[in-house]
Symmetry: C3
Subunit: 447 residues, 3 copies
Amino acid sequence: MKRTFLTLAALAGVGLTAAPALAAVPAAPAADAVGGGTAYILNTLLFLIGGFLVMWMAAGFAMLEAGLVRAKNTSTQCLKNIGLYSIAGLMFWVIGYNIAYPSFAEDSLGLIGGFTGIYSMQEVGAADLDTGYSVASDWFFQMVFCATTASIVSGTVAERVKIVPFFIFVTILTGVIYPVVVSWEWGGGYLDSVHGFSDFAGSTLVHSTGGWAALMGAIIIGSRVGRYGKDGQVNVFPGTNIPLATLGTFILWLGWFGFNGASQLAMGTVGDVSDVSKIFVNTNMAAAGGVVVAIILTQVMYKKADVTMALNGALAGLVSITAEPLAPSVGQSILIGGVGGVIVVFAVPMLDKFKIDDVVGAIPVHLFAGIWGTLIVAWTAAPDAGVTFMGQLVGVLLTAVWVSGASAIVWLALKYTIGVRPSEEDEVNGLDKAEIGVEAYPEFART
Amino acid sequence: MKRTFLTLAALAGVGLTAAPALAAVPAAPAADAVGGGTAYILNTLLFLIGGFLVMWMAAGFAMLEAGLVRAKNTSTQCLKNIGLYSIAGLMFWVIGYNIAYPSFAEDSLGLIGGFTGIYSMQEVGAADLDTGYSVASDWFFQMVFCATTASIVSGTVAERVKIVPFFIFVTILTGVIYPVVVSWEWGGGYLDSVHGFSDFAGSTLVHSTGGWAALMGAIIIGSRVGRYGKDGQVNVFPGTNIPLATLGTFILWLGWFGFNGASQLAMGTVGDVSDVSKIFVNTNMAAAGGVVVAIILTQVMYKKADVTMALNGALAGLVSITAEPLAPSVGQSILIGGVGGVIVVFAVPMLDKFKIDDVVGAIPVHLFAGIWGTLIVAWTAAPDAGVTFMGQLVGVLLTAVWVSGASAIVWLALKYTIGVRPSEEDEVNGLDKAEIGVEAYPEFART
Amino acid sequence: MKRTFLTLAALAGVGLTAAPALAAVPAAPAADAVGGGTAYILNTLLFLIGGFLVMWMAAGFAMLEAGLVRAKNTSTQCLKNIGLYSIAGLMFWVIGYNIAYPSFAEDSLGLIGGFTGIYSMQEVGAADLDTGYSVASDWFFQMVFCATTASIVSGTVAERVKIVPFFIFVTILTGVIYPVVVSWEWGGGYLDSVHGFSDFAGSTLVHSTGGWAALMGAIIIGSRVGRYGKDGQVNVFPGTNIPLATLGTFILWLGWFGFNGASQLAMGTVGDVSDVSKIFVNTNMAAAGGVVVAIILTQVMYKKADVTMALNGALAGLVSITAEPLAPSVGQSILIGGVGGVIVVFAVPMLDKFKIDDVVGAIPVHLFAGIWGTLIVAWTAAPDAGVTFMGQLVGVLLTAVWVSGASAIVWLALKYTIGVRPSEEDEVNGLDKAEIGVEAYPEFART
């Protein structure tokens, strides 16, 4: 999803990637060229469609999480999700975008960028033709990625974080922590220029970033009251509304066509739109692979097909293919997504062994599958793309260090100042009563 | 959203708004031009995408309202919503569209249009190139706006109106009352030609119209049984399903990108698609402003962050920016939406003081924020656009007089003929038993 | 939705259907032409947008069915739906697509096609310009139709089929049974070449195919425990969550714009995009007709407006118009959809007389309305299209014979080998406990 500065050649309508195919019809090459104005419109349209699909993922996370928490915390989870999406938009406007796409300080190796002010758009009716797309559409598309990162965190730390500290964390995550990671790769910084790191749509930049922030939250905040017994047993707190979680998963799956497909960043040439189409197919098949593997594994291991594992299998498949959804064959995509399904089935119980309380399974889905998806790019990328396992590993590790470190500092600062957790009594009664004053299901819930 | 008759110049591919930008690349102006056929397709595609996004808002209203009524009235609310969307489509076809876009009678000042027959489309495979877009796509896009107007009413008067009188009201609202308002502005009538009234996507034409019709309904029908006690106390009837209301809000937010963005009415030039992109950003940021303000205000005032206020804050932000989503800067958009959030937090309890029983808060969201959004255009519009505060006020007042008057007559006529309310016993037992025969949650609800 | 091989003339930008309209602007014919590259992009974009809208229908079926089963089987229904969508994608890749679009054996009359291997896409950045669209986008669009067919079955046979046999049936349905039907018509086989059979978007190919497979399942599997009493009385098992079913219906309605609209298969000419627009309008109006007729009929017959009938009325209207959503006038579309509403209201109780237990009403909606929609094309199709009542009837009957026969064999084979039903005790306790281990609503349900 690196920001592309299209050349005038591209604006003149000569699709570079389509050139070989064009050569096959030598008699009428002009017929397949796309004019620069038309390409500008189509590139912009891709950002707008991709943008609204990824915005819709905010609803997907909200439903997934609302379905997987207990009834007494559901209103809180709804509020957190609509609030974090709003905060992400505001912060990505005020500072985020221009941290993500900075002018890097000299001799900084592309590690330290300069903040260049609040994001601004052109005048009404004006258009910057040099970019090849509307800058506002680009901002919109990038903003919804920023919001996705925050959505990942809210699921893991659900049911035991108060609203105010949660929103403060989101403010810093979306304003600073995430944009810095982006600057290193899509902003043309260290990972991109020094290591040839490749992350097409954000397995590391978005999903692992959210995952590390969530993991630090889970560790520092601690587990929910009563979750882990003295004898090491894990008390299951079943989700309150499985159809809602299913709906959320379908929404996320739908949104992912925008997430990965529009990360092609252009559809103003026949080659680009063909690649977007391939990304749609690969994205879908990786998710399908994750679902089928998760169903088969749970059926074989437990003699039951755990529906929450199937849902998380879909998501893990999607996260896994996100680092490179274009280059793999369909078969490779199914395999990559299928391994995502394996990760979920084994990692979810494993986290409980370490008493890391991840309410919705976001750490296996977004962090572990994100790492897997990033590393496997070394296998699937085109040989001449310069992607190496070591380069990918550096990207994973640098993100780990920065996001974990920064997130830990923020969570700890919150913990020892205003506090992050409600009183145990409030937690047992549910956050909805203590924090929101509106029960989610006042006529249904027995608690 | 005024209907534009594109000139042949536009069809020839010279984007007017893009002209200044084009001047910056003098060597290759032709490269940025878009051919007339391509522009026609892209304009039509904008209507189709915008249209299906606004159609989806019908589901958003259905979920919002189903989540905020009590369980015993939920099936009825679902039926009303799918029914009103269907009726709106039929009525806008039979008479609505051609009332909205009439030939005005001479000397009528553009107030009294003539009904020119049932809407008709071109033959299969034919296209009216003079319009610059498919007339069927335009009709579809306009129709879903008409349906939105009716959706607003159903929320306010929920839980105490029988199905048949409700559907009769919807029939007249979508067939006559709303189209007449549209004719005055988007149809080129009185408000447009005499007062320079400006309402880009319908803060007044759609949202205030729905709001006035809802207000008259709430007053004439009266409040729900038991809602207001003798001593002036307000009995809270909490919504039955907050995640559903949250989902509805996210659906509406998503749909609003079509509502406002496609009201640009064209994306066949680089200038137009850039403007659509700006509208996406401003629309999103106004909603974000509404959410954050509503959360902060309720947190400060009540020490709790009321989730329904946050949801309505998003919607009020969206309604506020709808009258002019293009001209404001991002900062102005946040401010305009934020004021929408303030309006909701203060107006919802205020209505209860007047014993106006608005089940979902549609009157603050759609009427009050709609008026605010319309008036503030006098500040944000381009100086040479000719928008004045007085012109905007005339539009607000004329809509108020016409819609309130016409709606009151219809509600009163229904009240004194077939009756609008169920028996008190039926209302207490819930409309689902009396009117539908299908309970919404037969295995859950305790009532 | 027949696969079109665009000619070079079309690639050169001369929209055939737009020709008459172009003639009206003789001075500047070139201005309305669309270049081949642009047309390729727009055709591909139509498949992508249509594809993600139809993919979203998988969520619609999931919600509709989750809302209409009882709470104790809801998790199972969610799992079945996400599983079947995944399996459909895998099978349509491995064998389905290339069975659907085969090279027919000589002297086979276009009945017996040859399987030509796993589907494969072009290289990254490459594009097959001869097709006029990206082959990957076409595959994606066709795949989601395959998945829809399977979704129809899961609703009818809900609440009494175990997961494993259900998924095996889906595997064969999506890999073989459905693709063979497609080969006869959209693949250019027997029905298309010999009988001039016409099925624009799949009233027969998709909906009746799903319906026949569902009907065979309902008969062979048998009815749910306790559904039909000894004295012929029908015990009503009310759906557990009506708003969810309503949401599902709205999702399906939205998705249908992609289902029918993108089955135009092209929007690279002004004529094509105008036709897509007409399809949007007709599709919407047929659904509206189905809703209004179902509401009026149930209100008149039972003095109550049954919400599930209204929802199924919308779906029946949509299925009815799917065989020919372009040629009818708006008025014809309303009529055709309205008859769909009649079919639902009368057929749902009729099936119970025959003790055919169709949990969600999928057989009336998809099979009966599908047959109606297919036959009525003989009336609405253009006179020179060569569509005859007999040709349509042959298509209906051949599909009936093949799908019923093949489905019956598979269901019977499953029944007499691994078994299809859970034990009666498991069924009474609910499939969620026996098969999934995760209850859908652990805090709500009373059972």
